[in-house]
C-alpha cells in the first residue's frame, strides 16, 4: 500500500469522525426539541394532567376529604347492595331520627292522643241525638261507597298494626314476646305490610276521587270552625253532607298524609327501581313513618267520633241509612238537600216490608245489618 493511499484513508476517517460527532451534538439537541412540534399541535386534545407540584392543594388530602364527603370511587365488586362510597354520611342521621324523635315523640304522641280521647269520652260522654231517634231514616252512603270505605278502613287497620309493630316492636313487643317470638311476628308483619300496602294505595286513590266532590271547602265550614264544630256544648253549627271536621280529616288525613304515605311506601317497597340511594331510602322511610303516625293520630279521632263519640253516626257507614233526627242535628243543610232532591224519609217498618218483598239478596238499603 502506498503512502499516498494511507494518507487519504486517514483523512477520510478523520472527516467521518468529525461529522459523526457533529451529527450527535445536533441530533441530541434537535430530537428532544422535536416533541415541541407535536406538543404545540396536539395540546388541545390531550387532557391536562394535574401533577401534585402544580395543584394548589395536596391531592392525597383532597382524596381523603372527598372520601369523607361520601364521594364515590371505583370498585370491582358488583351486587345489588355493593356501593362505591367509602362512607355513608346519611346513615347516622337516619339512625338518630329513627331511634330519637320518631320513636319517642311519635310514640308518646299516639299515647297522648289515645288518652285524650278516652278522657274526653269519660268526661263528656257520647253526643246523643237531641230528642231521641225519630224512627225515620234516609240514605246517606250508597253500597259502593260503603264498600270502598271499609276496604280502605280494613287496609288501614292492618297497615297501622303491622307498621306500628315494626317501629315500636323493639321497645314494646320484645319485652313481652322475647326475641324469637317477636321476630316471627315481625316477619309476618313485614310481608303483610308490603303486600297490603299497594292494594290499600289503589283503594285510597279511588276513594279520594270518589269522595272529593263532597269535601270541597265552603263558607259554611268557616262558621262551623268558629263555633268549634259544636264539640263542646249543645250548639249545632250547620253543615252540608260533610262538616268542617270531616273535611279536615279528608284533606289533611286521607289526602295529604295518605298520599304521602302511599308515595313514600311505593318508593321504599320497590328498591329495584334503581334510583333509591341509601340517602333517599332513609329519607323516604322517615317520611313514611312520620306520615303514618300523624295519620293514625287523626284516625283515632275519626274513629272515635264515628263510633262511640256520636250516637247514630256509625249506621250511616254500616247500613247506609241515618236517622232523620241525627241528620237534622249534624248535617242540616245536607238533610234539606236530600228532601229537596225528592227523597222521603222511610220508617223502619216500611223498610222491613220492602226487604220481605225483594228477598234477602234484593235492594241495597238495610242489607248490612246492625
Amino acid at each position: 500500500m502506498s503512502k499516498h493511499q494511507e494518507a487519504t484513508t486517514a483523512k477520510r476517517r478523520w472527516r467521518s469522525m468529525l461529522w459523526t460527532v457533529l451529527a450527535v451534538f445536533f441530533l441530541a439537541a434537535a430530537l428532544p426539541s422535536a416533541s415541541y412540534l407535536f406538543a404545540q399541535t396536539s395540546s388541545g386534545e390531550l387532557p391536562q394532567r394535574q401533577f401534585s407540584e402544580e395543584s394548589e392543594t395536596n391531592p392525597r388530602s383532597d382524596m381523603w376529604r372527598s372520601a369523607r364527603r361520601g364521594e364515590g370511587g371505583f370498585t370491582n365488586q358488583s351486587g345489588p347492595y355493593v356501593t362505591n362510597e367509602l362512607i355513608n354520611n346519611s346513615g347516622e342521621n337516619y339512625r338518630q331520627i329513627r331511634m330519637g324523635p320518631l320513636t319517642t315523640v311519635g310514640g308518646w304522641f299516639l299515647v297522648v292522643v289515645f288518652l285524650a280521647i278516652t278522657a274526653f269520652y269519660l268526661l263528656m260522654g257520647q253526643k246523643k241525638i237531641d230528642g231521641g231517634r225519630s224512627g225515620q231514616t234516609v240514605v246517606r252512603w250508597q253500597t259502593y261507597e260503603r264498600f270502598l270505605h271499609w276496604l280502605v278502613a280494613l287496609g288501614f287497620v292492618i297497615l297501622a298494626v303491622t307498621g306500628l309493630s315494626l317501629l315500636f316492636g323493639r321497645t314494646v313487643l320484645i319485652p313481652v314476646f322475647g326475641h324469637v317470638g317477636f321476630s316471627a311476628w315481625a316477619e309476618v308483619a313485614y310481608s303483610t305490610h308490603n303486600l297490603v300496602g299497594p292494594v290499600f294505595a289503589v283503594a285510597l286513590v279511588v276513594m279520594i276521587l270518589l269522595f272529593i266532590r263532597h269535601n270541597v271547602p265552603n263558607k259554611t265550614d268557616l262558621q262551623w270552625f268558629k263555633q268549634g264544630g259544636g264539640i263542646i256544648g249543645n250548639k249545632h253549627p250547620s253543615a252540608g253532607k260533610m262538616n268542617g271536621g270531616e273535611k279536615v280529616w279528608f284533606w289533611v288525613g286521607v289526602f295529604a298524609l295518605g298520599l304521602t304515605a302511599a308515595v313514600t311506601g311505593f318508593i321504599a317497597l320497590f328498591p329495584n327501581w334503581g334510583f333509591q340511594t341509601r340517602e333517599i331510602m332513609s329519607l323516604v322511610l322517615i317520611l313514611h313513618a312520620t306520615a303514618g303516625i300523624l295519620w293514625i293520630g287523626l284516625f283515632l279521632g275519626h274513629a272515635y267520633i264515628g263510633t262511640l263519640g256520636t250516637e247514630g253516626a256509625l249506621e250511616g257507614m254500616t247500613r247506609g241509612r241515618v236517622d232523620v233526627a241525627w241528620a237534622k242535628q249534624h248535617h242540616d243543610l245536607w238533610y234539606q238537600d236530600v228532601l229537596a232532591s225528592g227523597e222521603k224519609p222511610v220508617s223502619e217498618e216500611e223498610l222491613k216490608a220492602r226487604k220481605h218483598q225483594t228477598g234477602p239478596s234484593g235492594s241495597a238499603a238495610g242489607q248490612q245489618g246492625s
Binding site: I174, P175, V176, G178, H179, V180, G181, S183, S370
Partner: protein, 64 residues
C-alpha cells in the same frame, strides 16, 4: 243484655287466651336473651382467646 255477636266474640277471645295458657308459652323475662345463644360471645371465651389473637396479630402483621 249484650248482643249475640259481641258475646260470641268475647267467648272466642277468652277461649283462645285459655288455650294459650295450656301450652308451654313462657313470657319474656327482662334481660334474658331467649334467642339462640352464642357461647363464643361471652367474656370468658373472649378472655381465653385474647392472648392467642394478640400473638397472631404481632406475627402476622409486622414486617419480617
Amino acid at each position: 243484655m249484650m248482643p249475640k255477636r259481641t258475646t260470641l266474640c268475647a267467648v272466642a277471645v277468652v277461649t283462645l287466651m285459655l288455650l294459650a295458657g295450656c301450652s308451654d308459652v313462657t313470657m319474656y323475662e327482662p334481660g334474658v336473651y331467649k334467642g339462640s345463644g352464642d357461647d363464643t360471645a361471652s367474656e370468658e371465651a373472649a378472655e381465653a382467646r385474647a392472648d392467642d389473637l394478640r400473638e397472631r396479630a404481632r406475627t402476622a402483621h409486622t414486617d419480617r
